[in-house]
Amino acid sequence: MIGTPSLVSVVDDDESVRESLPDLIRQFGFAVQAFSSAEAFLASDVLNQTSCLLLDIAMPGMSGTELQEELIRRRHAIPIVFVTANGDRTVRPRVIAHGAVECLFKPFSETALLDAINAALRPR
């Protein structure tokens, strides 16, 4: 990781997540931007710089999976790691089939998070 660190964007409506997750990601050595909604992320200027998107699934307004579809439609091939507090394990195969790198279920360990981000940054 020489030069500018990769940018990890976090999109989650939960404020405590937007507080805590960026700090940990920063500790990993990445740059971080946090957004409270899918719409805010789409409207931002980091769309093109984001190397990995940590994306909540259930959010008011546009959901995580809808943002995934929107990015595919706009041909923004940003690697996505979904993060969900919902216990429903059936969402994982569905989002991965749509191209997501990983789907983490809260609560997850820092190792699981780091592995997922590294997998997203690996050239495909």
């Binding site: 805590s20 700090d23 940990l24 507090a85 216990g87």
Partner: protein, 511 residues
């Protein structure tokens, strides 16, 4: 032995023989059992030929509907060389005015008929006429029954099948003789027979109309559900003369009912399962969110402390967040408890006996349907308690339902439920609900009062959890113990009115 003695001995023998013949004539089964006309005629001719040693007997039977008469001729003893002109005749009418026909008897004996022979002939003709009348009546009844567009049978007072109409014969694909054996030949489905016997046998014995449902084998061997109703027909002296039975095929209705009830229970199960899974998901979401925060912040905290130099300020901030997220998780649990318990409750002095009686009355239909026998032993000198009537009744109702549910699979003993109130030292009032159900295993005892714990396929598992919360809000306690015999007993005890109402007036609300 002189000639007079000899003749009187002969006379006595002749009379005895006549009496014997008379007795056997009366006892012939063809008359009373209601045989068909052909059978009656052949019984009549057989009896006369045998008893009177006739040359021939001839029966002319008029047709009841004005058709051609039927004549039957039977030849008896041969002449033994005598010319046919030597035959003596005697005749008897069938029916008061001969409307049924006539019987003519001929004998080679010139002194035929002797007075005893005439008597026998007349008695035999009378008996035959009664039998023929009955047969004709039955024929008419059968004719009427055949015109009824339904499945109809007639039974004897003893409950034996006597007449079946054409439609019933067609439906079952078997005749009267086979129908008489309906209890053993598979006409009624074997699985239904015990139940049918329980209704049919006492109904016949006591002469009470009956009505039951059973599967009846159709002509094609397929069993179809039928409603079978029987009504006794009484003669003028109030004795049962016969039973009329009507069968109605209800297979379509029965199957629709079964499908409906299956659909209903599936729907209920799905909706419960959906509620439960939605509830679980939302609880999981609420709890996982702060848990995740705790782990993330603690991880960050450790990394900050491990850095060179350690970022103590950052670590302090993240550690504070860990505490905050921990509190948040605990708040979620507290909110969850509140979700199940009505926040506001109204305290009033109340008679637990009365509250229990109301619940028993309200659920008596339900309990009866589940064949639960409810016994109550409500103490006479029960002090008032202070509490929320509705909520305590909810607890009692829940305990009654649980008791009833626990006995659903009990078939080998009465489903007895005892609800009992008594004064306890303390001073408290205790209510107990005792069932004779499946009982409690030690493993069950541990998790009985946990939310979402259930042993019932349909249960949400929050009933006892909520009940215990309600009782605890009344400063009481709720517990269970296995019975010495089958089943379990659930208790709750709450303090008497004076114990908790110190300064509050009756009927106050608080949260």
């Amino acid at each position: 032995m002189d000639a007079r003695n000899e003749s009187s001995a002969e006379e006595r023998a002749r009379l005895r023989e006549c009496l014997d013949d008379l007795a056997s004539l009366m006892a012939l089964p063809a008359w009373s059992a209601g045989g068909d006309p052909g059978q009656i005629v052949s019984t009549l001719t057989d009896a006369l030929l045998g008893m009177l040693r006739l040359a021939f007997v001839c029966v002319r039977l008029n047709d009841s509907e004005g058709g051609p008469a039927i004549e039957t001729m039977r030849i008896g003893e041969t002449s033994g060389g005598t010319a046919s002109s030597d035959v003596s005749f005697a005749s008897a009418r069938l029916g008061l005015h001969g409307e049924l026909g006539i019987v003519v008897a001929g004998s080679w004996r010139r002194d035929f008929p002797a007075d005893t022979e005439r008597l026998l002939l007349n008695v035999a003709a009378n008996q035959a006429a009664i039998g023929l009348q009955q047969a004709r009546l039955r024929g008419e009844q059968k004719g009427i029954m055949d015109t009824i567009p339904g499945l109809v049978a007639m039974l004897t007072p003893a409950g034996e099948v006597d007449v079946v109409n054409h439609e019933l014969v067609e439906y079952c694909g078997q005749g009267l003789e086979a129908m008489k054996q309906w209890g053993t030949n598979g006409t009624i489905h074997t699985d239904d027979l015990p139940r049918v016997g329980q209704v049919f046998t006492p109904a016949i014995a006591s002469g009470i109309p009956y009505d039951f449902e059973a599967r009846v084998r159709r002509f094609d061997g397929v069993y179809r559900w039928c409603q079978i109703r029987g009504l006794p027909h009484r003669d003028t002296s109030e004795h049962i003369a016969r039973w009329y039975v009507l069968l109605t095929e209800i297979d379509g209705r029965k199957r629709a009912e079964e499908a409906l009830s299956r659909a209903r229970s599936e729907l209920a199960h799905v909706s419960r399962a959906t509620t439960l899974s939605a509830l679980t998901a939302s609880i999981a979401h609420e709890v996982n969110q702060p848990l995740s925060g705790i782990i993330t912040n603690a991880s960050t905290c450790l990394r900050m402390l491990a850095a060179d130099p350690p970022d103590v300020d950052g670590a302090r901030v993240t550690a504070t967040r860990t505490i905050r997220d921990g509190n948040r998780a605990s708040d979620v649990i507290a909110r969850l408890r509140e979700l199940f318990i009505k926040k506001e409750f109204t305290l009033e002095p109340l008679d637990l006996n009365e509250a229990a009686r109301e619940v028993i009355a309200l659920s008596s239909n339900d309990l009866q349907r589940h064949r639960v026998i409810v016994r109550s032993e409500l103490s006479d000198d029960l002090p008032f308690v202070t509490g929320d009537r509705i909520q305590l009744q909810q607890v009692i109702l829940n305990l009654l339902r649980n008791a009833s549910d626990a006995m659903v699979d009990v078939h080998d003993r009465p489903r007895q439920l005892l609800i009992k109130t008594e004064r306890e030292d303390g001073p408290c009032v205790r209510l107990a609900v005792r069932d004779a159900g499946v009982g409690l295993s030690p493993r069950t005892m541990d998790s009985l009062f946990e939310a979402f714990y259930t042993s019932k396929s349909g249960g949400m598992g929050i009933g006892l959890f909520v009940s215990r919360s309600i009782v605890e809000k009344h400063h009481g306690r709720l517990w269970a113990q296995p019975n010495d015999g089958p089943g379990a007993t659930f208790f709750f005890s709450i303090p008497c009115a004076s114990e908790i109402v110190t300064d509050a007036a009756p009927a106050v609300s608080y949260t």
